[in-house]
């Protein structure tokens, strides 16, 4: 295990996992691991925020524990819940026994009947894991402040059992799509990293790395096209994931350059909203002109 990764090692690690990086990302990941600070990553959907946590976990050879946030997420889904069915069964079994109420209570409120949810899992893990708190902006503010408490004390109190202290402090990655602004308190607790859509060169590198059999010219055209599409006002701007899907699809079809018909028929891979598709299809010629693709003469 790499307990003291140097900057170069982090860079190598990320590269090895197929993650194309910028220096700022390398530095943030490195410092977050070195200083044992949570890392807050913001950016539009589909730029590889979640990916960083995965890469980090496999680089550190540790487990990735993921807490997906959503509206209405509460402590029972994030921390722990009692296994009620089991508890009831246990009580049934002991119906005839002479145990006192206190003893029964002690049995059913023990480790055996505790369902550990991600946060509790993370702090009771026997090796410091990577804890990914995904899309924190979807959970409500109450959950956010509750999370702050856990992140600062690294202990969780269960009324029936007592306080559980962290055996290892996990490496925390928090991601957000900026659906709502996060509190200043959470920001100050974390190191911050903004990841934007990749520029042309970076995107090209990513396509090459992930789709090795793609035609060189096609890859460039795809990148140019994506860069242009992202400047349009769309409901849902496509991320890297969409670029890769598209590149892989086209490469599988053994295509070596973009064509109008082809783009029109495969636009559904890139854009996931029908108004966007409509908008892009109507301005396709214009787009092609900017990208430098000559449309087929009919």
């Amino acid at each position: 295990m790499l307990s003291h990764p140097s900057l170069d090692k982090v860079r190598e690690m990320l590269a090895l996992q197929g993650y194309i990086t910028e220096p700022s990302i390398v530095m943030s990941v490195f410092l977050a691991m070195e200083l044992k600070k949570p890392l807050l990553i913001e950016g539009p959907a589909g730029v590889g925020k979640t990916e960083i946590a995965k890469v980090m976990a496999s680089a550190l050879e540790t487990e990735l524990i993921r807490l997906q946030c959503y509206e209405g997420l509460d402590a029972t889904h994030a921390l722990y819940e009692w296994n009620y069915q089991q508890q009831l069964l246990q009580l049934k079994l002991e119906e005839k026994s002479e145990k006192s109420l206190k003893e029964k209570e002690k049995t059913i409120f023990s480790d055996r009947f505790l369902l550990k949810r991600p946060l509790l899992q993370a702090i009771t893990h026997d090796q410091s894991p990577v804890l990914l708190i995904d899309e924190i902006d979807r959970a409500d503010e109450e959950f956010e402040s509750f999370l702050l408490e856990v992140l600062s004390d690294w202990q969780i109190t269960i009324p029936e059992m007592g306080t559980i202290k962290a055996t290892h402090i996990p490496q925390v990655i928090v991601t957000s799509n900026r659906v709502r602004e996060l509190s200043e308190a959470l920001r100050r607790r974390c190191m911050y990293l903004w990841i934007d859509y990749p520029d042309f060169d970076k995107e090209l590198q990513i396509i090459r790395a992930k789709t090795p059999n793609i035609d060189e010219r096609l890859a460039e055209q795809i990148c140019k096209f994506m860069q242009e599409v992202r400047t349009m006002r769309l409901e849902k701007v496509p991320g890297i994931a969409e670029t890769l899907d598209w590149a892989q699809a086209l490469a599988a079809l053994h295509i070596d350059h973009l064509e109008k018909d082809l783009v029109e028929s495969t636009l559904g891979i890139v854009l996931k909203d029908w108004t966007d598709i409509r908008e892009v299809s109507t301005s396709l010629s214009e787009l092609f002109e900017k990208v430098g693709v000559i449309s087929k003469i009919e």
């Binding site: 700022s24 049934k92 059913i108 709502r180």
Partner: protein, 379 residues
């Protein structure tokens, strides 16, 4: 020389502190915690591989938002360049390290200081994560340009969503209905040996208040109405029930049309439709239509929100009568008049005057802040 190194190092850290102070003046939140984190980070990456690594480690530890991360590069370059200049000029002009402010036009320590602390006002406009939203909050919707409106939609949704989330995500105990509260049930029945005799229930906390929104979409009011509806509908996703109507010359119920996926588009289409028969606003007639057709929607748990400037080309008697009826049946009547955002505003329009006695809350709804205030009143 050890002495030399020590001096250098103190120089560096005092320069770093100066840099932090400079960033703070630009709206960065940097306290002792951030500074010690930064120093620790520098310690870890030392000896610095490259100047870039130095810069990046500062950025990684001092930035706390996207805006700050974007501003950082420029501020960094500016600061160290200015510092370099100062150091050079010091060597040439003042070997004694005594600043002689009277003399030189070249940058002196004093000038650096001025530059560091002095010109806050000049640059204060472009700082900080929240100030942008604050100024945005106070601007009249009508003053936004076409391009800015897109951004505004996003901000409004963001604010409304976070307010809506706050409003409504707890469980409450209940005796009727739905989901068993297992935790409570198990605890309660322990003493009966696990026989579930006394079952406890819970359900999501519910706000059973209903909103009826009646919006003026005549030309001058259209924009405000759209923002109000957009804002309120974000709440609806959570729990609140909203019935919505739009009018200019006559009333149209748009609740169902707005339930769809393309909220913004359908709203714009609808308001255009209503406006096609436009010939001035007839608020009295429209409200009368509402009373006649839909007053069964009203009860004491209903809040009625009317957005209009009160201009009416019709008979104000009808308006008065309708308002009296609505006020009598509904729990609360809120009237939003975007013109009231102007400090000199007086409700002198006749339509407004006859309506005033039947209004519980009169406010503006002309910018983000006033919409926020409205949402708080609705809770």
């Amino acid at each position: 020389m050890p002495k030399e190194t020590i001096k250098r190092r103190t120089d560096l850290s005092s320069n770093l502190l100066g840099f932090c102070r400079y960033l703070r003046s630009k709206g960065f939140t940097i306290g002792p915690a951030e500074i010690s984190l930064m120093l620790e980070a520098l310690d870890r990456i030392a000896p610095f591989e490259t100047p870039e690594a130095f810069k990046e480690s500062l950025a990684a530890t001092l930035c706390r938002s996207r805006r700050q991360q974007e501003m950082f590069g420029e501020l960094y370059d500016k600061y160290w360049k200015e510092l370099d200049k100062a150091v050079n000029s010091k060597r040439i002009d003042h070997p004694e390290e005594k600043p002689q402010p009277s003399q030189s036009k070249k940058p002196s320590i004093q000038q650096i200081k001025n530059w560091l602390y002095g010109n806050k006002e000049e640059e204060i406009t472009d700082i900080a994560t929240y100030s942008a939203q604050q100024t945005l909050g106070q601007r009249d919707f009508a003053s936004f340009s076409e391009e800015e409106l897109g951004e505004l939609w996003r901000v409004i949704q963001q604010i409304a969503r976070s307010m809506a989330m706050q409003a409504n995500r707890r469980w409450e105990k209940t005796h009727r209905q739905k989901q068993i509260d297992l935790r409570n049930t198990v605890r309660q029945n322990l003493r009966r040996g696990g026989e579930l005799l006394d079952i406890r229930f819970r359900r999501p906390k519910r706000n059973r208040h209903k909103l009826v929104v009646i919006c003026d979409v005549s030309k001058s009011m259209d924009l405000y109405s759209q923002f109000l509806l957009q804002f309120l509908y974000t709440f609806q996703n959570v729990d609140k029930k909203i019935e919505s109507f739009i009018f200019s010359t006559s009333l149209q119920r748009v609740t169902h049309a707005l339930k769809g996926y393309q909220f913004k588009e359908s709203l714009q289409r609808l308001s255009q439709e209503v406006n096609t028969w436009s010939g001035g606003t007839r608020i009295g007639y429209s409200l009368q239509q509402f009373v006649q057709g839909y007053s069964r929607l009203l009860n004491k748990r209903t809040t009625v929100i009317i957005l209009s400037d009160g201009w009416d080309i019709g008979d104000t008697n009808i308006l008065e009568k309708s308002m009296r009826k609505i006020h009598g049946k509904a729990g609360r009547v809120i009237w939003l008049n975007p013109l009231a955002g102007n400090p000199d505003f007086k409700p002198e329009v006749k339509g407004m005057q006859v309506s005033l006695p039947f209004i519980d809350i009169f406010t503006s709804g002309h910018n983000i802040d006033s919409l926020k205030a409205l949402a708080r009143k609705l809770k």
